[in-house]
Amino acid sequence: MKEIHVSKIIDTIARLCIEACYNVGDDVKALLEKARQHEASPHGKNILDQLLENLRIAHELKLPICQDTGMAVVFLEIGQDVHIVGGDLYEAVHEGVRRGYTEGYLRKSVLSPITRINTGDNTPAVIHTEMVPGDKVKITVAPKGFGSENMSQLKMLKPSDGLEGIKEFILQTVIDAGGNPCPPIIVGVGIGGTMEKAAYMAKKALLRPAGQHNPDPLVAQLEEEMLQAINNTGIGPQGLGGTVTALAVHIETYPTHIAGLPVAVNIQCHAARHSEALL
């Protein structure tokens, strides 16, 4: 059985935290450039220019692209033929986050929800683990800023609400968010399953390369339709008016119960950060 030592997990997580916060992927950058070409509002154009300039400066000065370097959300896809050795896997993830946020000069934004006292090292991470076939471990670090996280919503719709209800809820969530989550945004949606399954799918949808459609043509069509509807709201860059409110809509679905229709909408700002490694 293949063995992976926790020290390798620690080093990888630390590196991914820094990488994710300093760079936005080429997928997002390409969508921002496309948005700059299509935006009709002069203010909107100016804002998109500043965002592109920001990416250049962040790269040049080795600065995080946004000061909200987030709460670290870590996805582990663990091959069922892998044996993790040398210590506690989850403790290794937290240690990787601790090191990455300290060595990368990232902001420590994590605190007790009751006392509001900062933990001082951005731990704990939020960890999602999935078992998969094979002998590899895939690690994805997705630092999540809360300007956008705060604007996310979940609703247990009724079966009678149907597809129209789903569309209405997604659109209303974006309208309620307005300029708060730093548009242009990426919208992650989970439809079906149970309450937590819908939320998990919405989050996981954000890991897809920005703008890549769901392989199911019906869902892909819904993504395209929602993107149009969102960009017709006029919210625009930073909520100050314009034709580009979202860069992409990513929808995941799962079968649900005869009595229910859970829908979760996870809003992601343009700093759509995630880095991954395969061990």
């Binding site: 100016n46 965002l51 000061q67 902001r107 300007g147 017709n232 100050l240």
Partner: protein, 185 residues
């Protein structure tokens, strides 16, 4: 080409009154940062009639909590945070002389009403442009609540920080005017 409109901090009243929603301005001077936890403390001190560790009169508050500085730089990324979380505290600060706020996202009706009453403006920085804004910050000094870490109050000297007048002192609100202009529904 349009000339660069400079706005100074602490505010000069004639400059402030000339600002119109939609104006692009470049901020120069001395501002202070305060976000959630610092606002809560300032609000409590004001309510209890106790002295503040900072002056509010004619000041510009920037809703921001920077990243730590890497060696060789004076500050890390330092973009704006969501202003609406400060809405509950803002009218009391305006009553005590605060004249301009820098943040991102819309403000509540109560805040706008209080801004009109006290002649204050709300300036939008581009959320997510933390590295670009950091390059406009020339000096930084922690001045209060240092135990709050990234939420401490810092005094910053800024040079030509690019901002958009989002809500002017007469209550004209670009968060309403702008989207209405581009809505296609």
């Amino acid at each position: 080409m349009e000339t660069k409109k400079i706005f100074h901090a602490p505010v000069i009243h004639e400059e402030l009154n000339s600002l119109k929603a939609g104006d692009t301005i470049y901020l120069r001077g001395s501002i202070i940062t305060a976000r959630d936890a610092a606002h809560k403390r300032i609000y409590q001190l004001l309510q209890e009639g106790k002295p503040l560790p900072i002056e509010l009169k004619d000041q510009v508050i920037y809703y921001a909590g920077p990243c730590p500085a890497r060696p060789g730089l004076i500050i890390g990324s330092c973009g704006p945070t969501t202003s609406s979380r400060m809405d509950v505290y803002t009218p009391l600060l305006l009553e005590h002389g605060l004249k301009a706020m820098i943040g991102k996202g819309p403000r509540s009706a109560q805040v706008i009403e209080s801004m009109i009453k006290h002649g204050a403006v709300y300036l939008a920085a581009v959320g997510g442009a933390g590295a670009l804004i950091a390059s406009c910050i020339k000096k930084v000094e922690a001045v209060a609540f240092e135990d709050l870490g990234p939420e401490a109050i810092y005094r910053m000297e800024v040079e030509d920080m690019p901002l958009l007048v989002a809500i002017d002192a007469r209550g004209n609100n670009l968060y309403e005017i702008g989207p209405r202009q581009f809505a296609r529904i």
